[in-house]
Amino acid sequence: MQREERVMDATLDAVLQRVVDIKGSLQELLVKIEREGEQGDWPSYLNSFSVISAQIYTLMKLLKNEKTPILRNYLTLPLQLNAESDEKLLVATEGRVPSFSHDFVPNMLRTKPEPDMEQKHQALEAKMAQVNSDTAQKQINIHNRVVKHVMDLVNTAREEWETETAARTSQPQTCSLNETQILVAALGTGKGFKIRAQPPGPSPTIQQPPPQISTASKAVSAVKTNIKAATSIHPYSR
């Protein structure tokens, strides 16, 4: 008997802890919505949701655990109601429940949904029962098709977006190291500029007179002469 009680206590403690965690996360989310509203960062909302869903998942796992006693087998029976305010209860419920009175107890200890909720639920159940199973199947199919179509749209959009970002990260080539080296060598040593159409010309010691350019005023033509020289004579033959 004592052992069962201890297990029960431990389980309740664990459940309580999980519930407190979930409550904390929910409060954080509420604060975030209040403070940031629509300006909020979408990924951070998603983060909050996933945290909460994970916490709910652990809670459910805990409840379904083999070692956890089946809580629904236990009854909670209010023995005594008291209209006077109870300090301890106030602290334990974080100021929501001032006293263990007629007002609060039915709500706190109820095991069924609220009456109007129950009514709505029943109305839906009745409606469902009325609908022909074929029509229902047809509606389900149509719905599935619409959902699938939307999914497809989202997926193609996502694919497009992803290829675009991929293209942006692997930019097209804008420079070539090989070309840089060719250019630097050409600039530094003249490699590639020298015209080697024929084997090297006559021995450099045999100098032919260079084109005669007499006065300074005509020296613009000096360079022109050189261009001409390059076009007509082999540069090494000079």
Binding site: L177, L183, V184, A219, R238
Partner: protein, 224 residues
């Protein structure tokens, strides 16, 4: 008219400047290239980074003739005399009235500098310089056309240009291009005592990544 009584030598001034190492004869250089297809992007980026972003970058169209001065009669002996000195003559084809530039560029210095460091002299000269060099004993080695844009950012000179070969039967508007890329050069002239500007050069180069990879490239270490 009050004139200074003692006229110092031109040479004396220069010697004094050399002694105190304030002659800007050192050049820091970073080189890279950009494929012609991406030229527009690089120019736009550079316009944003450089001075005078509100006006179009200045263009240039230069003809460079490179001479080698050495003792051609004593070719077989090794040493600096047989290697000779490269002397580069540049003229602006689009501004024929500007003086020609005679340029001497030394070998890259060894050492761990943020950019390629070399001795460099840019000397404006009269336009008979080609004849002068020929008579001096130099020989025409090669020549080419460089066409492109020039910008500046503070003391840094930024040039983006394409090189064209000159050869047989080449019309002025039908030049043979060297590669499918434009050369990109960042350079700054400085003195032996002022090396701080090299970091600015690196910073500008980093801002051009990954469009252009600007590096210190020693052309002597490139393949044969």
């Amino acid at each position: 008219m009050a004139m200074p009584v003692n006229v110092p030598h031109v040479g004396e001034n220069l010697e004094a400047a050399m002694k105190s190492q304030i002659v800007p004869d050192q050049e820091f250089l970073l080189q890279g290239s950009v494929l012609d297809t991406s030229l527009g992007v690089v120019i736009d980026r550079l316009r944003g980074l450089c001075d005078n972003a509100d006006i179009l970058p200045e263009t240039f169209h230069d003809h460079e003739v490179v001479f080698v001065l050495k003792d051609f009669s004593a070719m077989s002996t090794p040493g600096p005399a047989s290697q000779g000195v490269m002397l580069r003559v540049r003229r602006a084809m689009d501004y024929p009235d500007l003086p020609y530039q005679l340029r001497y560029v030394g070998y890259p210095e060894l050492g761990n500098y943020p950019a390629l460091l070399r001795n460099c002299l840019d000397i404006p000269v009269s336009n008979n310089v080609c004849e002068f060099l020929t008579e001096l004993g130099a020989k025409l080695d090669h020549e080419f056309i460089a066409k492109g844009f020039i910008m500046k950012k503070g003391r840094i000179k930024v040039t983006v240009f394409k090189m064209y070969k000159m050869g047989i039967g080449m019309a002025k508007d039908n030049l043979e291009q060297m590669t499918m890329s434009h050369m990109v050069e960042l350079s700054v002239l400085t003195t032996k005592t002022d090396m701080s500007v090299a970091e600015d050069l690196r910073a500008l180069a980093d801002q051009l990544k990954p469009l252009v990879q600007l590096e210190r490239i020693d052309y002597r270490r490139l393949g044969p």
